[in-house]
């Protein structure tokens, strides 16, 4: 899932300045926090993230996949919140010890969206922003350049390392390794033949990567320079204005109306 992190595309979100997108993510988070006790007021925020997924070319199907992925965890959290408000409001569903009221359902759905909305917003951000621009944005936000660059390199290398882990696992399984058989401690120990080859490869790759960085004179100057820097356009201003108006409106509705 999301093995590529950044997904190449020419969607509306791909063309936006990363700072505008990051601000949008923060607005989604703020609105979700403000509306966490009323799922009806948080629903527009959730719908907006689905729209964003569509506008980014990723699709609402990914939202369904992400929600399904966390479904057990989310179900437990939702039921816990519904249970905590079981004494308030009009009962809607009563099954044995489970009693869900209208108030409980509103709070539970609000908490559900509080968890899901930021997840979807960050997915949109990372899949529509090039790692190069993520590094640039983080540095603009004050993160030390070496730290930001480490993060971006790790994100970029992730798909390759995931493939390497799966290849090693498949090869070891062909040699008779069965990771799902045996006692708990045996199954833990059986991961050694998977982890050691992956680390061994890491140790080789460190020297290669460091030589590539050294050959590009990385770290020579304190301030890193960029060949291609994002430029703020009128589209970014319009998007930011519309986002601010919408999410600040949701916040006002949730807190004061």
């Amino acid at each position: 899932m999301l093995s590529g992190i950044y997904v190449e595309g020419r969607s509306v979100f791909h063309s936006l300045d990363p700072r505008a997108k990051l601000l949008w993510v923060l607005l989604v988070l703020a609105a979700s926090i403000a509306a966490q006790f009323n799922g009806l007021k948080s629903l527009p925020v959730f719908v907006s993230t689905l729209v964003a997924l569509s506008l980014s070319g990723i699709g609402a199907g990914l939202a369904a996949l992400l929600i399904f992925n966390a479904s057990v965890f989310l179900l437990v959290t939702t039921l816990v919140w519904a249970g905590m408000y079981a004494a308030q409001g009009t009962p809607l569903i009563t099954i044995g010890f489970l009693r869900v009221t209208d108030v409980g359902l509103l709070v539970a759905s609000g908490k559900f969206f509080l968890i899901v909305n930021p997840i979807l917003a960050f997915v949109v951000f990372f899949t529509t922003t090039k790692p190069y621009h993520i590094s640039w944005t983080l540095e603009k936000a004050g993160v030390p350049s070496k730290l930001a660059f480490s993060f971006v390199i790790a994100l970029s290398l992730l798909p390759g390392v995931v493939r390497a882990v799966r290849d090693v696992t498949d090869v070891q399984k062909l040699r008779g390794l069965s990771l799902d058989k045996g006692s708990l401690f045996e199954r833990l120990r059986k991961h050694v033949p998977v982890i050691v080859p992956v680390i061994s490869r890491l140790l080789s790759d460190v020297w290669d990567l460091s030589m590539v960085l050294a050959s590009r004179c990385f770290g020579i100057s304190r301030r890193r320079t960029y060949v291609e820097e994002p430029r703020w356009t009128r589209r970014d201003t319009f998007f930011t204005f519309v986002s601010a108006a919408f999410y600040l409106g949701v916040i006002a509705w949730a807190l004061w109306l």
Partner: protein, 281 residues
Amino acid sequence: MPKAKTLDIVVVVVGLAIAAFIIYAFYEALRINPENPFEAFVISKAFLGAYFIVYAVGAVIWILGTLVFLIELAGYTPSLRGLRRSGMGVAHWSVIDLALAALSAAVYGALLAATAPLVIFPGFTWLRPANSLAPLFGMFFGIPGCVGVAIGNLIADIVGGYFGVGSIGGFVGNFLIAYLPYKFVRDHSFSTSTSLGEFYLWGVLAQAFVSALYICWWLDFMQWAVGLPVFVTWGIIAPVILSNNIVVNAVLSPILGRILYPLVKGRGLYWKDRVRVGTAT
């Protein structure tokens, strides 16, 4: 047998005994209350029963842990004589340190994301074998390894769909998992009783408590933004973090450490060898 060696052996035995007790406690909780085993799980009950004490201690650990994190990144390290320059701050990283941090993060994140957790009881608890690498990366690679573990956990959150405000606690919490054995374990070879004893004390027991308290205090403090009820944070997440870090690190880390230490030393990547010759400029 010298007294220090006896103490080291005792620590190893205690660490393994605690790991075995945790597994036993899982079975007992499931037997007593199959519908909601966390209600009967002794570690959940301990956290929730002493909530105010746990919250206060968690706050202290959060403040100290965050300060240590910032101080180390700035190139200083706390010692008994106050702060002294470590030469391992981010500004001093060489290209090798940068590559170590990035690749540690990629490997740690990939192993967390790509290897399935060992489910002990479905929907109840699970173990992540990849967590065994966190203390090892800190011990072998120093601060770049600790930062790599933090970034790797963040990446796993992003890939797994759990990225949010709570990930900030996970970022520094995972840094501390790698940092404590890096700072306090003197012999990283895993070939002597002293090495094993120190690892079980700092790399199995201490880091498990510190990371569980750090991460869950943050989730509790930011409840208004994270959305997790107190019962879930301290009754489920804290015991799972604690149990996972103790059991996995007690069983798997010494085996991996014993195998990997000569490889790391042989490739010239062990941090004590590099910092001693002043390569961190």
